[in-house]
Amino acid sequence: MVNLPRAAATSAAREIERHRHAPVRIDIEELGKSYGNFAALENVSLTVKPGELLALLGPSGSGKTTLLRAIAGLTATEQGTIRFDGEDATVLSLRDRRVGFVFQQYALFRHMTVFDNVAFGLRVRPREERPRAGEIARRVRRLLELVQLDGLEKRFPSQISGGQRQRVALARALAIEPRVLLLDEPFGALDAKVRKELRSWLRELHTETGLTTVFVTHDQEEALELADRVVIMRAGQVEQVGTPSEIYDEPATPFVCEFLGGVARFEVTAKDGEADVLGSAFPLEGDSDYCGPALAYVRAHELEIVARERAEGVPAVIRAVRPFGPTVTVELSVEGRQSRIEAEVPRELYSSGELGIGQGVFIRATAARIYAAN
């Protein structure tokens, strides 16, 4: 299903190309929105580059959906501006704003067939702008071809699968020739397998339509795998913006580190811009001569189990071994620390029989990110 029949897809994409303007740039400046005392968005500034696929990533309540809805014009904001190619979008009606919005639960019209759902946006246009019935039918069929649902025109939403509904919602949003495409948790309601398939398909679709696209997700893997750039949000504010590799390699804050997951956290004391983690010294991020409490993060694959006799690092005891996948995950306990540490080690170490449960070893960190604690 993932592999589009190339010819059909590209001809459908060309069809969209014909009706498309150059991709739109979105400038968001100092956006603010609150519900009573709760600040849903606080001073959010962000630029979405033309034709980019941008992910808004964050835990629930971080304001990512509010931001998406504000861009769409579904939620009113109290401060700041949103510009589409320099034009103030906050004063535009939804009709003039022309955003394609795909809802998390798809929000398909249940009393309409798949065809009628996709045609809806064309049929509600003012009479003078409305394409003729034949033209509408042609465009709807093209779009259904693009999302690989040709043949399902006459079905009702209740008669198709979750993944198919998702694609109908997408085709419906694309039918209005949107200036930007916005997707709220596009894979949130799907099971794991369909999710993976749709993910790479959406990436391809984005390449073909070239639309400026923003999607919301709480799944870091999804965001890093799919997006050109990722915006990490926390408590209504932007925590970090960057390409997936920037975010992964240089997480700006402890929050980003923890949110990306797969890390062990150590509370350490820094001296002159350095701190000791598991027996090795590492430099602090930023401020170079900071002294005081700091937080250190070490990813599982940055932990090394070293041979006993070298007596490097700190002593630890193996508590569990999970020998699945390309690497072996080892759970270790270290004296003076409550929670266990996970280390990813090469399979050879496991095969050689050195990872017995209860066995004492030494561990050390090969890399660590250290942040001054406020």
């Binding site: 609150s34 005392n37 600040a39 009113a76 401060q79 906050t90």
Partner: protein, 297 residues
């Protein structure tokens, strides 16, 4: 961040002018719709209700109370209470029995059976009376035999009771069936597995779960039983002091141009309806979760 900012910044924070959530109507349209909707409710509901009380007290309180305590009125009140006292418990018992059989078991033809129980809702009250005349009248199927043996059914109290049971037949059952279906039978199965007998299960597990819905059904059943006019009118024979219920008494007074008395008795019935409405609303507000959401009439 927003709640207690100084006043000069408040303007900054006020919602943007002209922005309206895309799924609401413009204020002018909204107020027009509210005005039309409420005007309609006032004209159709509140005005008639007010008119009843206004007409009843048109000549002051004295004729009003005089109309309520005269012997025929008192006997009509007594008969109405008597009829309700029989028909409501009868339908209560039927409702419990039927909803147990229908909601707690799976069988073919269930929805057809529910349709049959609902039948009286779509039968004219006049026809509900007529059917008993065809059965028990002096020219009816078994009427002549019964009358010969001294049993007068129609044009007597038993006929009134029967007709009332007919028109109020579905009230309790249709309240309980959806609720009990929704609740499933897990509680009952648990009770039985713990060694309770069938009756213990019913009284200790099932009944507490449905008590508010049951009360709700009884309330509506009672209101209809006391207020029924058409069906009772056909089978009553209109014998003053004997087979006149309150609604029939109202009609007789009205036809005799005794308007104040007619509206006095009518206002007593209207008051009863208001009490019913208040209790019903209280049940809905307090125990909405324990009334089946699917059926509010």
């Amino acid at each position: 961040m927003s709640a207690n900012l100084p006043a000069q910044e408040a303007a900054h924070i006020a919602p943007r002018p002209f922005f309206r959530t895309p799924v609401t109507e413009a204020p002018l349209i909204k107020f027009t719709l509210i005005a039309i909707g409420l005007a309609f409710i006032v004209a159709m509901i509140f005005l008639p209700l007010a008119a009843v009380f206004f007409e009843a007290f048109r000549r002051g309180a004295e004729p009003f109370f005089a109309a309520l305590v005269e012997p025929d009125a008192l006997s009509a009140i007594r008969l109405t209470l008597f009829v309700a006292a029989i028909s409501v418990p009868a339908n209560l018992a039927f409702g419990l029995v039927a909803s147990w059989a229908i909601a707690k078991f799976e069988f073919k033809g269930k929805s057809f059976l529910i349709t049959l129980i609902d039948l009286p809702f779509s039968v004219s009250p006049v026809i509900s009376g007529l059917v008993y005349i065809l059965l028990f009248g002096s020219y009816g199927f078994i009427g002549p035999w019964l009358i010969a043996h001294g049993y007068q059914i129609v044009f007597a109290v038993p006929g009134i009771v029967l007709a009332t049971i007919f028109v109020t037949f579905p009230f309790v059952a249709r309240q309980l069936i959806p609720l009990m279906e929704q609740q499933g039978k897990g509680d009952e199965e648990a009770a039985l597995s713990l060694g309770a007998t069938g009756l213990q299960t019913f009284f200790r597990v099932t009944l507490p779960n449905i008590k508010w819905a049951l009360l709700y059904g009884v309330l509506l059943c009672n209101a209809r039983a006391m207020g029924e006019f058409g069906a009772v009118s056909v089978v009553s024979g209109h014998i003053r002091g004997k087979t006149n219920t309150m609604p029939l008494h109202v009609e007789i007074l009205y036809n005799e141009y005794n308007f104040v008395a007619a509206f006095a008795v009518a206002s007593l019935l209207a008051f009863l309806a208001l009490v019913t409405l208040v209790l019903k609303s209280v049940l809905e507000w307090r125990y909405s979760g324990e009334l089946a959401a699917s059926s509010r009439h």
